[in-house]
Amino acid sequence: MGLLSFGKGILFGKRWRPIEAHRDTRAHLTLNYLTFKDLITSNDEVLEIISDLEEKLQGETYFGMTYIRFRCVTAATHTYRMIANLNKLSGRRFQELPVTFSTVQKAIEEVLEKSRRRASPEGPWVLDLSEVDASMHDRVGGKSANLGEIRNRVKLPVPDGFAITTDAFRQFLEANQLTEEIRSRLVNVDLDDLDSLREASEAVKEQFQAGFVPPEVERAILAAYRRLCDTLGRSARVSVRSSAVGEDGDISFAGQYSSLLNVDRDHLLAAYKEVLAGLYTPRAIFYRSVHGIPDEDIPMGVACIAMVDAAASGVACSVNPNRPDSGTLVINGAWGLGVGTVGGSVSPDFWEVSKDADMPLVEARLGTKETSVEPLDEGGIGPVALAPAVGGAYCLTERQVRDLAYIVVAAEKHYGRPQEMEWALDKLGRFTILQCRPLRLSRFSEDSSRLPPAEIEGHRLLLTGASASNGVASGPVFRLNGIEDLAFVPDGSVVVARHSSPQIVKVMGRVAAIVTDVGATTGHMASLAREFGVPAVLDTREATTRLEAGQVVTVDASRGAVYDGRIESIVAEKPAQPKRSMKGTPVHQVLVEVCRHIVPLHLTDPRSPDFRQGACRTFHDMVRFVHEKAFEEMFRMSDRVSDADYRSVRLRERLPFELYLIDIGGGLNSPPGRSEISPGDLRSEPMRALLSGMSDPRLRWWEPKGISLAGFLSVATESLFTPTHDTAERRLGDKSYAIVAESYCNFSSRIGYHFTAVDAFCSDMLNRNYVSFRFKGGAADDLRRAKRCELIGEILRRLDFQIERGGDLINARLRKFPKETILDRLGQLGRLVVATRQLDMRMGPSAAVGWYADAFFEGNFLFEPQSPPRTAPETAP
């Protein structure tokens, strides 16, 4: 046993502390397991946030301060949780980390605090719609920001108008000292009692009506109105509509706030106050309270848009919300103003249009339209009866439907996600867009923003997958079989690999696109691809089997699609210069500043001396460090238990060691009091898979086997131990432990001179699945160890593991694979654990690694030369 305990001591480079007797109880193991699971969940959350932040840093999608604050808090919470959990797992061995964390936390808070101070209302109070785009979301609210964006950047027809800013609203609140007033009115409302709710709502609205629009704001509004009249050449009537921050964005308040139509100059300020007060309609108060959203977090902008003399109007969705995969868009419409269609009070006409090149009409349905909503001379709007001949006719011609469809598609293409729009057709037959916002597709809870892959005529859709980095590119396929192939990647090729690897960064500057079988869009490679602007489609499952080397393909990453051949029409669409609408804005600047403390990764190599807690400078560093150390802690878990403190049970199975199992939750069917169970009593799926490999009869580990003399001498001199049969007997006394739960196993073993550990979680939740494997050799001379490691590395690589090697230590990980794959790989690991036993004796220093790996996969676990051998191994029995 002297050798074993020595081995234990040197395994991780430092001596192990003695463990207090009561600490490693079974409940303690369960807690460790839960703690570890927590830690992995937090790890994924932080990486997801980081990849989202990186995308936002590109400046191509809009976001506000609320977004930044939410992401910072979530990232901080999860990073903190990971550190706390690592300290729980390790017996508080990482005391420096919480200190580093605090420093980074403070730095982020300072940035956020600075931006809060900067944000005291100071104007401008009004912006002309021609000056507005999506980057001004925080200043003008969602509706105005989106209207300005499609008007000024996409050049879609949008009426003239102006945006009253959120600063104007806050100025209004401050001038009238309304904030406290409102709070006190609402604090005692019984939200369950509609009368009480109405009463409070009325009281707040009265406060708004009684309040005055601050003179500087009033002047700005009236000046903007005058400019609008000058532009139109007549006294303008406008629609005054709410444009709250968040309204068309992350949190949907659709239809919650008010709009007033056909407003003239005399009523403009009153209408403004009324729309502001719309924040406090009973249904809006109710909506916010049941969602727990504080009132003061809703800055309110107002959009004032010139009224369109509408012949017809309605709503269009760039994707059919009921059948998102159909490749069609839908339009509905009715005569007059859009109120009917939007509010749903008449049955509108309906069109479904295919989004193919010339937009053929798929379906048209006539509605029943007995009235139309029209503006009234005295202001406001009202219903007007329609003549049956008019009411019974379509409100758009087929030609007009197609024209509108082009507008809808243009907006969708600009935003890169499905859009919902309000449209109007004026009496001269011209379309205008009155509202544009992201369309929510409830069917895809996560991917609602993604465009579905479309069929493109004349080109086969070969593969679909997850988009990690948007863009379109075409090129010949280069099959990347291993990292060593990177040097041979031709410029402009589409790199196709089994799994994503950050190593691919070496060629990112010169390849057209990246496609992988597996890989997470939140992974490190994905974020690098975004940084380099290389389109990447991951998780296609079968890219390496479906795509031939040299085959020319087109990768449309925005749709997560790979097509056969080069498709000029979409490759040409790739913008030469990315639109960087958010860059340079104050909100983007804040994001840049907070990201400095969150995103960069300095700790890239776990073997480097700089991979230490004191070197962490960002949340990303801490997360990476904690993740690595947590796996190390877990590898120790089953190795350091002894059966003294557990109700462990022995497994009745023929194995080269005795296996004891400790159940921490649903891992065994074991009646209390039994000290032995059979494999049939195992419920833990990952453990069963591992065991099925270890007990594979083809392993024949019990048979005496020939060894090479050189190998024998090497082992004998290194260990002063007698090998072969003697070793086999000694093995019988060896104990290995496995900690099991229903979807989890943590196994470690010392077979021969090798230490192996497996930690795996496996369920139907693909994202949580992982297998990690660690191997540390012993005995034999350096050359043989190196050879053995090379072989194990090769076998693991063929099994899709990501590998790190240092000396004769191997760390291998497999993450986010489906359950069946995980179980299969665990079976293979089981075989590998036992088969490596044979290797020391068999593998000479110049053995052909490829031959041994082939032998392993052919089930030749004794590594006997086959006849005729493809490549003769160096030693023969």
Binding site: T30, L31, T66, F70, Q105, V187, I251, G292, I293
Partner: protein, 138 residues
């Protein structure tokens, strides 16, 4: 498995009521209160597994309430809820032993998953504390 006992603390009474109804429908035992003081009173009289605690409340805020809760029932798992994203409050809460920090509006499924996770954790912590007592008694 026994029913999860959940205490919901939020000054927004409508929020408490809606969430209580929905969580009750999913098989939880839920009690709702509207202030930190009430929460303390309830926890002094009967045991709970999980507390969902609003951070910003008039009077005794969520953080002060959390401090008291950990004195009364150290093993109860506390999940903080907040509509106002503050790193300070979140980390302070975690330091004081909160299990997690959720931002409003939170999806019901997320809340439920978090509560179940908290319950599982509480079970394991109770078991450990029993075993430790046993070890000391020996």
């Amino acid at each position: 498995m026994r029913v999860i006992r959940l205490l919901l603390v939020d000054d927004e009474s409508r929020y408490v009521e809606t969430l209580s109804k929905r969580l009750t429908a999913r098989g939880l035992y839920v009690e709702g209160v509207h202030s930190g003081k009430e929460a303390i009173a309830v926890l002094e009289s009967r045991p709970f597994d999980v507390v969902l605690l609003d951070v910003r409340m008039p009077g005794m805020d969520g953080i002060a309430t959390l401090r008291e809760i950990k004195k009364i029932q150290p093993l109860v798992q506390v999940v903080l809820l907040s509509g106002n994203a503050s790193i300070n409050a979140a980390i302070e809460g975690m330091r004081l032993g909160a299990m997690d920090y959720l931002l409003k509006p939170a999806d019901l499924e997320d809340v439920l998953a978090k509560v179940e996770e908290a319950f599982e954790k509480k079970g394991a912590e109770e078991a450990r504390s029993r075993e430790e007592k046993g070890a000391r008694g020996r």
